[in-house]
């Protein structure tokens, strides 16, 4: 085997590569160091952004990484996966000067990579206070919560049903933003401060809810969401129709050649950021054509504008006002998706009579929104959900069961990694406020 990356693997090269020192210094020095900086306020974890950037400018990389990571323990991930255009970089005052905003995400990566990926300890667990907290799931919310608790002296155990920790941060991020190994390396770094993670351990199956409630002083639900369920249209059982999250997870762990889509036509159903990830990655796997089919119009599309642009640059064709009504196949394999055109009439989305058409394809990826883990939530007595199935919680993350806290996608319905980390950390502080004094 050659050490050279294959052509397909090259398509997945970092799209925001690590800066070298000189590029970082020039960029860091472009930062104005605003008073009451708007970028800080746009960051869900309120990182002192001008502060860490000025430390890069003085080559104080350890200090810079500390500033980032004490605010956001998954700062190395977020440097790669945050939609910075919508958050910190979107708030940069340089927009008003019609200049490019500071590349905050790339600077954050420059500062954090060598600490986190080289697993240099930066924060230590406090002496144990005798209290134990169980965390259900080991995704960004639980990791944010556990890391904070460990630094406050709590024993923390994360129960994770997957083979590896990290949740969607490990299995659900487009590979050109962050690869599998990087996500796992970061979690190993977090574990150094005394966070225990038990993988292949599903709560309710491998370990009972009762034991969690009895053996721990508090429980944190960082369970995220379920997969993308079926649409309820004919033909979904055909070979080639799948949940896009499964597809994204598969290409995290398998060589790109093995999941190649060279010569294939792919239809992605959905209009959100996950649909974009499925679309761009299909294109990068060599698909001949990739359609992203959305049932409403361009203006209603939920995916960030910059993500939409990326998918278009990758050659994807966006099909708007397309409601899938059936999946067609032959010999058990998908051959196309049947759509009907939609239109908004009197504020309601309606089908246009007689407008059915078929897009021929080999693969259909469902990206129409994740379901809720209703069954798992129901196992926790007293934990209520809202009308959309999201876990109800107070501002500080406490659920309607006073011993249980929560955060992340199971509460928000699906947001960014940075939001989940912030919510996990906030819950940890609330847990400490309630338990710490005793």
């Amino acid at each position: 085997m050659s050490d050279q990356p294959s052509a397909l693997a090259t398509n997945f090269a970092d799209y925001k590569p690590l800066m070298d020192r000189n590029a970082a210094l020039v960029e860091a020095n472009r930062c104005l160091n605003c008073f009451d900086a708007p970028c800080i306020r746009a960051c869900p974890t309120a990182i002192d952004i001008p502060g860490f950037i000025k430390k890069i400018a003085t080559d104080n990389l350890k200090g810079s990484a500390r500033k980032i990571l004490e605010a956001n323990i998954l700062g190395a991930s977020c440097a790669r996966v945050c939609p910075t255009q919508e958050l910190c970089e979107g708030a940069c005052v340089l927009h008003d000067l019609h200049e490019e905003p500071i590349q905050i995400g790339r600077l954050q990566r420059y500062a954090t990579d060598r600490v986190v990926l080289e697993k240099k300890p930066l924060f230590a667990a406090a002496p144990k206070n005798g209290k134990r907290v169980a965390l259900v799931g080991a995704g960004p919310a639980s990791l944010g919560c556990a890391a904070e608790l460990a630094q406050l002296g709590y024993e923390t155990v994360c129960f994770e049903k997957q083979a590896q920790p990290g949740g969607l941060n490990t299995y659900g991020i487009a590979d050109y933003k962050m690869d599998y190994a990087t996500a796992l390396a970061e979690i190993e770094w977090v574990q150094q401060m005394g966070v225990e993670i038990r993988c292949n351990t599903e709560v309710g199956k491998d370990v009972s809810v009762e034991s969690l409630m009895n053996d721990f002083d508090a429980v944190f639900l960082g369970i995220g969401l379920d997969g993308v369920g079926p649409l309820g249209i004919p033909g979904e059982d055909l070979d080639g129709v799948r949940d896009c999250l499964e597809f994204i997870a598969e290409l995290k762990v398998r060589p790109k050649e093995e999941v190649s889509l060279v010569g294939k036509t792919v239809v992605v159903l959905g209009g959100g950021n996950t649909a974009i990830d499925a679309t761009t990655q299909s294109a990068r796997l060599g698909a001949e054509r990739v359609y992203m089919a959305y049932r409403r119009d361009a203006a209603a599309m939920g995916a960030y504008k910059h993500e939409q642009e990326l998918a278009k640059k990758d050659g994807a064709v966006f099909v708007y006002n397309a409601q899938p009504v059936g999946i067609e196949g032959a010999n058990g394999k998908v051959t196309g998706v049947k759509f009907v055109k939609t239109a908004v009439v009197n504020g309601r989305l309606e089908y246009v009579d007689g407008s059915e058409y078929v897009l021929d394809c080999d693969v259909v990826l469902r990206a129409t929104g994740q379901g809720k883990l209703t069954g798992l939530i129901a196992m926790f007595d007293g934990v209520e959900t809202d009308s959309k199935g999201r876990v109800k919680s107070a501002e500080d993350g406490q659920t309607t069961n006073p011993k249980i806290w929560t955060g992340g996608d199971c509460v928000s319905g699906g947001k960014e990694v940075v939001n989940a980390v912030a919510e996990g950390k906030r819950a940890a502080q609330s847990i400490h406020a309630k338990l710490g004094a005793n």
Partner: protein, 426 residues
Amino acid sequence: MADLKCNTAGIISPNPFWLASAPPTNTGDQIMRAFDAGWGGAVWKTLGEPIVNVWSRYGSVDINGVKMMGLNNIELITDRPLDVNLKEIYEVKKRYPNHAVIVSLMVESKREAWHEIVKKAEDAGGDGLELNFGCPHGMSERGMGGAVGQVPEYIEQITGWVKEVATVPVLVKLTPNIADIRYAARAAKAGGGDGVSLINTINSIIGLDLDTLAPNPPVNGLGSHGGFCGPAVKPIALNMVSQIGTDPETLGLPISGIGGVSTWRDAAEFIALGSSSVQVCTAVMHYGFRIIEDLVDGLSNYLDEKGMTMDELRGASLPKIRDWKELDLNYKVNARIDQEKCIGCGLCYTACEDGAHQAIFSRRREDGRTFVEVKPDACVGCNLCSLVCPVDGCIDMVEIPTGFDPCSWEQYQSGEGKLAPRPAGH
């Protein structure tokens, strides 16, 4: 296109831009390529007894990610054989009769040694001589260069020896490593020097390597102080040039200005402070001979727009440079922030609050942006906010009439003048 032809103490060049005596003028080949590119003159890298150089020679100061804002060197004078340099000087002059070739000289402080080198340089065809009394490193340890330039009596004596035999104009190159440059300039004039060139490099340690704790540039683990030049030294050079131009004893002494000249704007400043020609080194070491195109083009466009000749520009700023005691204490300015242009970075607030006179008010607007406004009663018109503001024309310093007649410190002290009211506490 403005006529840039230039006469520096009798040395004629097609434009005022000369290469300073330094690595860019090490060989005839370099100088000929520079002349082809458009340079008006070149000061040949200092001739003397051949020396031996160390290998690691330059170090730089990078500021805020910008490279080589200051350069320091521990290179000595030419390390090429004297006869090779003289042959090349002859060759260059033969091929470029209209360009100025000035020969920089440094030999031990003996009359015969100076007589000999001066004759050789003239025989080779040099249009002028420049006496290197400035080099602050290495040669000064041997009693030459800066060791001469720091003692006005030595400057006068050696200049006198040179003038005993010289038939071409003699410029004396001065060191800034001295308490008052005027004494050195007066000595150069008293010794018969036809003009001065300044500044030579400033004594410096450019910085340390914090891994090895050795100074830069490192020579097998050790270092030595060197000569500092480049854009960072320009303000020091401008002041020294202006001091010579305003000193009654050296008034009118021809000057070749040196120190951080990188652009035509820098050159215009040196000329407005009394320089006839300017010498450039660091900018060429950074970007090459090609920078001459914009130096010539920019200066020419500037003169055309101002409707001035080179002669009119030369020294034009000198009458405006006065002692502090002559400045008008009743001239009042206040900062004015253009709210349309403000981007809300708040840098003016931070600078004024912590670094100046607490005259800017800041609050967070409803849309989350920072709003800043000047408190006129507190503003002392120091300019700091307008200096830190990143937006062109956002903060202007606006003149506020006080209704009082101008009053200098001298007038105030003598009781002749009356002061306008100042902000509280000032």
